[in-house]
């Protein structure tokens, strides 16, 4: 392979990119990926991705829900979008104390416009209260003006803490009473969730049967509440869930409350079988992949440059020995060695970067060497040697600047390989398990047989991101190469 070096100026590179569709595509993809990384780092709290492995964090999310944009209703009725109404979105409509009863009421509003009933609803809440247990009342105001009181029950008292609400749940979720005994005063922190399958709700709904022109099914409150009274179909429009706590002392506070309407589609990328929002994993995977790819690429290319130049410039026995070592590194089965090391020690992303650099520089070093051999024999280099310039000066003055375009090409080409290697390790379940990476999402999808269950939204995006990240650098490298070394490509 003959490689012809051509000095290239910065303006050459810019015009070259402007005229190359492939190069422009690469740049655009890279800008897109960098944008995603910046968005992920700045706007998604760090805590969210640290929670990736903690199932309790994702309880409110739907399981294996398709992306919401698939909800076009082309094939049958539109599916209900999984809706989480957070505490911040609720309006405080009442907060008063009258005759020793402290009443706090909050309203959660949503506009229900879908073609299917919600699959269920869950109302989690956390509250603090004194000795006398408060009473919780839940009302639903429907678009037709009817108000159903679906739940009216007292919370467990200080001494007796029972599971409230979750006694007949089908989701297998458990209530989690946390007793936070504070030293100064007797005050409980109590967390629980009211499920749509709660027996009290069906009991309370019984009184509204006469309002309907047919017999609604009280055992499925999510259907009855969202049904028209005249015809057995969905009643679309604004719904308001009102949570009212009656505290019997001044100290009662609501710490948190949410209303979750279960649906089968959610978010821009859907959720996986462990209820995790895939969008968060995919977004956070971007800065991780770019970090690994770029650090490894820069690291290997620098080592390759130093090694190749030294070997080529020194020549003779030094070159011989260095090239034998290089042959050794080229013949190493990198993936197998990485597997071995991770089985023994476990890996984190920094260690992966170090190992990929350690095992990845050899191929490029061979190329740099053959080029520096060429440059060494140029007349002006020999001339400056005769003039007594030091080796260091010759290397940095004459050889490195000549090789610089090639180094950039090498960096660009090494990025996809590094990203792929990390993805491969993650896919084997051997990479850093504390962060979501694209390879790891694919590993979990494969382990949960997402392919044969048809959960395409779990499989396609992560691999596509790996491909896009690699492609952008490969295209940039290709364009750089065709500008700086036109003979090789054309």
């Amino acid at each position: 392979m003959t490689i012809q070096l051509r000095p290239s100026r910065r303006s050459d590179i810019i015009t070259g990119f402007r005229h190359s569709k492939l190069g422009l595509t690469g740049i655009i993809i890279l800008i897109f990926l960098v944008g995603i990384s910046i968005y992920a780092v700045t706007s998604i709290p760090l805590a969210t991705f640290r929670q990736w492995n903690i199932p309790t964090y994702w309880v409110d999310y739907p399981e294996s829900a398709a992306p919401a944009w698939t909800n076009v209703g082309m094939f049958g009725p539109t599916a209900a979008v999984h809706t989480i109404l957070p505490y911040d979105s609720s309006k405080e409509i009442l907060n008063q104390t009258y005759r020793g009863i402290h009443t706090v009421s909050r309203a959660f509003s949503t506009n229900f416009e879908y073609g299917s009933y919600p699959t269920n609803f869950v109302i989690p809440y956390t509250t603090r209260y004194g000795e006398i247990p408060p009473v919780l009342e839940i009302n639903v105001t429907r678009p037709d003006g009817l108000e159903f009181r679906i739940y009216y029950s007292s919370l467990p008292s200080n001494t007796v803490l029972e599971n409230e609400g979750g006694n007949s749940n089908i989701d297998g979720q458990e209530t989690s009473p946390q007793v936070g005994q504070q030293s100064t005063e007797v005050q409980n922190t109590y967390s629980s969730r009211v499920f749509s399958t709660n027996r009290d709700i069906s009991q309370n709904l019984r009184q509204y049967i006469p309002l309907f022109s047919y017999t609604p099914d009280v055992t499925r409150p999510q259907v009855m509440i969202f049904s028209d009274t005249q015809e057995n179909e969905i009643l679309k429009g604004p719904y308001t869930f009102k949570l009212t706590f009656y505290f019997f002392d001044e100290k009662g506070v609501i710490d948190d409350a949410r209303v979750i309407l279960g649906g089968t589609v959610y978010g821009i990328l859907g959720t996986d079988a462990f209820k995790r929002d895939l969008a968060i994993g995919i977004l956070w995977g971007t800065p991780v992949a770019l970090f690994i790819g770029l650090t490894v690429a820069v690291g290997t290319s620098l080592i390759a440059m130093i090694y190749g130049i030294t070997s080529g410039y020194k020549g003779g026995r030094v070159d011989e020995v260095m090239m034998r070592i290089n042959d050794f590194f080229i013949s190493l089965p990198v993936l197998i060695l990485l597997i071995l090391i991770s089985v023994r020690y476990g890996l984190n992303i920094y260690l992966i970067v170090v190992l990929l650099v350690l095992f990845g520089w050899a191929g490029s070093a061979r190329l740099t060497r053959s080029l520096s051999l060429q440059i060494k024999n140029y007349q002006y280099v020999e001339a400056s040697k005769l003039m007594g310039e030091s080796d260091m000066k010759i290397i940095f003055r004459h050889i490195v600047p000549q090789l610089l375009p090639l180094i950039f090409v090498m960096i660009a080409y090494s990025v996809p390989a590094a990203i792929l290697a990390e993805a491969g390790l993650s896919f084997l379940g051997l990479s850093d398990m504390t962060i979501p990476t694209w390879g790891r999402i694919l590993n979990e999808a494969n382990a949960a047989s997402a392919t044969t269950l048809g959960l395409w939204w779990w499989i396609i995006p992560p691999g596509l991101m790996i491909g896009l990240a690699g492609l952008s650098f490969a295209l940039i490298g290709y364009t750089l190469e065709s500008i700086t070394n036109p003979r090789r490509i054309r």
Binding site: R324, S331, L335, I336, L337, L420, G424, T451
Partner: protein, 349 residues
């Protein structure tokens, strides 16, 4: 030809050094785990034999003393009283592995039920070679035809498209395309089986057909990912050769275009082409191992995966050795072919 033999000898020495060093690394990484699991299994064996022998003891302390004594005795017999890193044991282990005496596995057994690591791996190697080898050969052959075709049309849309596709397939993980293929051709359009484990037994007369049918999807995946890259390389070198004076001369004397492309240019492009294959082998081999896991193809990759999940150290060591051996042998063979084709090496003599 002396230069060729010189290269041959130099490469062989390099091969042995690489193998030896990889083994040293493997044993030093897994030696401790192996020792721990071995002593655990000895303890287990002592306790079971004690229960079976029904020896009566005066006290629990006496029984414990007896058990400990038995364990010490067996450990000494097996030479486990020296640490794994003692020169004697270390070299012994490496020598044993090199001679393919790979010992017994801890958990995984072969399909016929043998716990010998050599048996388990021997069963898997042909299947991996079948998949990896046929994929490489098919891709190579298709590339040889597509490459000159693209070289003739350099700069046109189809050529640019090929560059794009080859960059893309170089960036996409093999296992990912494998998952997509399963989704498309086993779930959406059920043409192929989801899992590539052959359903019939090896004694079945149609076993080979069944094996090939189950191999189809992983093979297609590997070939699809390889074609664009391979034809890109072939095109690259052919284009460079087409610029040479001797090709121009051939054109001038009226040698048909097709013959120039597919015979003269291609033959002269052989050395750099082989070189590019050598550099690409590692990636393809790694990809082949990973794709076995996706498709459940019963080769070395899926064995490695199950060995990792149960931490079966002897299997892992055996697999690392055998796959290094295969990988290095492949590099060695292509390297030899390269030296054979490259006129400069012959000129050394």
């Amino acid at each position: 030809m002396a230069g060729f033999y010189l290269v041959l000898i130099r490469r062989s020495i390099n091969l042995i050094i690489v193998l030896f060093l990889v083994l040293v690394l493997t044993v030093s990484l897994l030696g401790e785990t192996m020792d721990k699991i071995l002593t655990d299994s000895i303890r287990q064996a002592v306790v079971t034999s004690l229960i079976e022998s029904k020896i009566k003891f005066q006290s629990a302390a006496e029984q414990q003393a007896y058990v400990n004594q038995q364990i010490q005795l067996r450990i000494k017999n097996l030479g486990l009283d020296e640490p794994w890193y003692s020169p004697k044991r270390f070299l012994n282990t490496i020598f044993k592995v090199m001679m393919l005496d790979l010992g017994r596995s801890y958990f995984v057994t072969s399909e016929s039920g043998s716990p010998e690591v050599a048996d388990i791996i021997a069963e898997r190697v042909p299947r991996t070679l079948l998949l990896f080898g046929s994929a490489t050969i098919i891709t190579f052959v298709i590339g040889l035809y597509l490459g000159p075709y693209l070289a003739e049309r350099q700069g046109r849309t189809i050529d640019k498209a090929n560059v794009f596709v080859s960059m893309l397939s170089n960036s996409l993980p093999t296992f990912y395309i494998g998952m997509i293929m399963i989704f498309a051709f086993a779930f959406v359009i059920p043409l192929f089986p989801e899992r590539s484990i052959p359903t019939s037994s090896p004694s079945d007369p149609f076993y080979l057909l069944d094996l090939l049918y189950h191999m189809a999807l992983p093979l297609i995946t590997l070939v699809i990912l390889g074609i664009a890259v391979q034809s890109y390389f072939v095109r690259l070198f052919v284009v460079n050769i087409l610029d040479e004076d001797f090709i121009k001369a051939k054109r001038a004397i009226g040698v048909p275009k097709k013959k120039i492309l597919y015979s003269h240019a291609l033959r002269n492009a052989a050395p750099p082409l082989l070189n590019s294959i050598i550099l690409g082998l590692a990636g393809v081999f790694g990809g082949a191992l990973l794709i076995e896991i996706v498709f459940d193809w019963p080769g070395m990759g899926s064995l490695l995966y199950s060995a990792i999940t149960v931490n079966d150290a002897p299997i892992i060591i055996g697999l690392v050795y055998v796959s290094t051996l295969i990988y290095i042998a492949a590099v060695f063979l292509t390297d030899l072919a390269y030296s054979f084709f490259d006129p400069r090496i012959k000129a050394i003599s």
